[in-house]
Symmetry: C2
Subunit: 116 residues, 2 copies
């Protein structure tokens, strides 16, 4: 039951849009991820999508708006709502999704979510 | 579906051990809370307990150890495990628990968890 230092985990990889699992919470993966560029628009049929920005700025495109989300700000996209996270420069994010949920909303295009 | 600025939410109250709900994630309360002093030892029968330190230092007493947890560090206490968070000086924490879960593990002593 160790504590998890998020910066130490983020230092272990450099890839973008590649979430890495750092802890478990009630059947959810708690992940760190680096965003840069545009992710595809997508939605999750059965789950909310939890984002907390740790460093940099994420833009959340949702409901026809582009919402800047900075360090210490969180954004929960409700299930079923189409959204696109993007970042003009690298942004570091804490992400929570249920285990097995494809990060793209589609198993065919989902990232592997390795544990570190 | 607004973003949530955690520092702005934390500025709205000064009480300790008094979690305030700032967002929802799949039936969980996402909360901010200020710790100072010692909380009672307790456990949660049916849920893990998620802590992310935002500012200051939390000490987690668990399994006979006292583990310092600082800013950018998270700690998930598995369900059923007795633990005690404490803080020598004020510490600000992001806390996630299922809706309705008493923060003390006991409805008789639980905080109200107002929404802000």
């Amino acid at each position: 039951m160790p504590k998890v230092n998020l910066a130490e985990k983020l230092a272990q990889f450099s890839s973008h849009w590649d979430p890495h699992v750092v802890a478990d919470y009630n059947g959810n993966d708690v992940m760190v991820v680096k965003f840069q560029g545009d992710f595809p628009f997508h939605h999750h049929e059965t789950t909310d999508d939890f984002f907390l920005v740790l460093e940099g700025e994420m833009i959340m495109d949702v409901d026809g708006e582009s919402i800047p989300v900075g360090p210490g700000e969180l954004f929960v996209v409700p299930k079923g709502v189409t959204h696109r996270p993007r970042a003009e420069t690298e942004c570091k994010v804490l992400l929570i999704e249920p285990k097995g949920e494809p990060n793209t909303g589609d198993p065919a295009t989902a990232a592997a979510k390795p544990r570190i």
